[in-house]
Point group: C2
Chain length 372, copies 2
């Protein structure tokens, strides 16, 4: 199967798009949410469970897999898909975000980044060329260029420098990328500065990537600022290529992102909060771990069709969580991933039926209303 | 469905038996291994996964459920089956073993045992009457009498005293037991003293229980001593009632137990060692967590039909275990439970075909041979 993106429909009232992303493993309906499987596993889940809730594509992390177990071992295993028993699409990030998040543990040069492992403090070097090489060894369907992700807040001058370096590094990534059963996406940077975002998009689209990510957002800035950046950026991204908003996964931000023309999202949020005993509902988040649910024999959500809600009560889940029983975090993870994947399904349906704005308004109203 | 035990066949060469145990939820083929779900969950597993590997009946612990979440909450939830989404048989122990294992944290009187919770140090009282009441609230298919489990080693005099008290307590349990969709099994005690074991069996069978457990074995004594006790005891247990050897689950002891006339077993061993990264194989245990398996892309066992072995390599499982990924202990747990449940299936087949001794010799030879 060759890689392609087909734009099926554009919403007449928003910038939302309905699309089909053909990867080397399966066809992905967009807009799509990608569960995160940092270490070649979506925490607590089996691949069959992921498929059961409709996961079409997952994300895995280059930085983490490079450190453990190492990309060479995964290549020997026959690649990431075979290693982890997942036969649908995988997107790997480039490790840029993780490396830059290390703060004092890293030093940047034009050549690349020297950093210390968060595990054992050993020194490593990551460059655009190396990030591509590692992702080629992993064999993901979609690889990402190695970018410099400016933190929030960043001075204009640094944000500009990081954006320009991200462009130069994107070029170097593209030059060394060889694998034909893998595509490479560019990453737009520019922090919260509209002109830098537009400049970044212009630079990158000149390189003609098969897809474009928006990086450096959802890193601490207020959400309205993030939405503003998306609005500014959208006209400067090609219509016939998929757009991926990195690291965003709250229900409201998914809807707001889709409305602003985003096709792909990933985030650790649903799986991370699940492990802390927090679950999504139509009426906001619910801390099922709380004492309030001790004798609550209703499911997390009455009308939810997920495995968890069809079979278990809040009281049982709370009991499991309180006793550190693995099934507890399995059940909350299943519910949260199902919630987001089902939300994207409803969003796609709403786009198709040209009622996205109505759907969005209603969803956001309910979701905000119920907030603690 | 009424409770009954049907003896289908007796092995002509050993004391092994093939039977059908009709419970209030399903028909259980014996000899059977019961996975342990201490806190209303077999650690890491979903009920569907348990069924998938052929689990027919599970065990849950009265002591633990009494402390957390409390039997009243479970009764309100509609009973243990509904609470944990398990519609096959459940056996609950009486809490006796756990309470007596608390050592200095408990004091024994004829009335019952005063003990301190291992969780918060709070003081509790457990008696035969209370153990029955709790198990009736839980609603298990098979409840156990509250027994005094003598540790190993125990002086003859104390072992005798504990055995006699166990008998008196069994009588009291029987007197107060009311629930008609639950049966109560007696427990034979007597430590490693043949005459006490025989005496215990005589006392208990006078009370005419629908099933008899052998308690106080596998508590630290050498295995040959355990086997000797089973041999001494067997002629004194009624043929038409199921016999349950408590807390035994190593592959060799399962076979040796069946040969000595045992129909039911339970043990935390397969699930506990799984969480430490150790798995059963035909050729002994294998510590899949070890560095030796880092680049071993074979399954745990080449010919094993379990979900884990059909889909994952030792290298992947080791990677998961090393990174504390939940899927790792899920996969080792599935394999270990499948291993024992499948072993029992093979044992039943061998009894049916009158070749149990040949099967046992071959299995034990392979299993001992491969031991580290």
């Amino acid at each position: 199967m060759m890689f392609s993106f087909k734009l099926l429909k554009k919403d007449p009232n928003t910038r939302a798009r309905l699309g089909l992303l053909k990867t080397f493993h399966n066809v992905v309906e967009t807009p799509v949410f990608m569960p995160v499987g940092t270490l070649a596993t979506v925490k607590t889940m089996s691949p069959e469970e992921l498929k059961g809730i409709g996961a079409q594509i997952i994300l895995s992390n280059t930085y983490h897999l490079y450190l453990r177990p190492g990309e060479e071992l995964i290549a020997k295993a026959g690649g990431l898909h075979k290693f982890m028993n997942w036969d649908r699409a995988i997107l790997t990030d480039s490790g840029g975000f993780q490396v830059f998040s290390l703060g004092p543990l890293r030093t940047i040069s034009e050549e690349g980044v020297t950093f210390k492992s968060h595990i054992d403090g050993s020194t490593h070097f990551m460059s655009p060329e190396k990030a591509v090489k590692i992702q080629e060894a992993l064999g993901s369907d979609i690889a990402m260029v190695f970018d410099e992700c400016a933190p929030y807040p960043s001075e204009y001058s640094y944000a500009k420098e990081a954006m320009k370096r991200t462009y130069r590094w994107a070029k170097r990534c593209k030059e060394v990328h060889r694998r034909e059963d893998q595509v490479l996406f560019g990453i737009v940077q520019g922090s919260i500065y509209p002109d830098l975002r537009v400049e970044s998009a212009k630079y990158l689209t000149e390189l003609d990537f098969p897809g474009y990510a928006v990086g450096g957002l959802s890193v601490g800035e207020p959400k309205p600022l993030m939405y503003e950046m998306l609005e500014v950026l959208e006209p400067h991204l090609p219509q016939d290529k998929p757009r991926y908003l990195m690291g965003v996964g709250s229900p409201d931000a998914l809807i707001e992102g889709v409305i602003r023309g985003i096709d792909m999202f990933d985030c650790v949020l649903p799986t991370r909060i699940a492990r802390n005993g927090t679950v999504f509902t139509r009426y906001g988040k619910l801390v099922v771990r709380n004492a309030a649910y001790k004798e609550d024999f209703r499911p997390i959500e009455e009308d939810c069709q997920c495995y968890t809600c069809r079979n278990y009560s809040r009281a049982y889940i709370r009991h499991l969580l309180h006793n550190d029983e693995v099934l507890g975090i399995r059940l909350t993870t299943i519910h949260n991933l199902h919630f987001l994947i089902n939300l994207m399904k409803e969003i796609r349906k709403a786009i198709k039926e040209e009622r996205l704005l109505v759907f969005a308004r209603e969803f956001l109203q309910n979701y905000e209303q119920g907030k603690d």
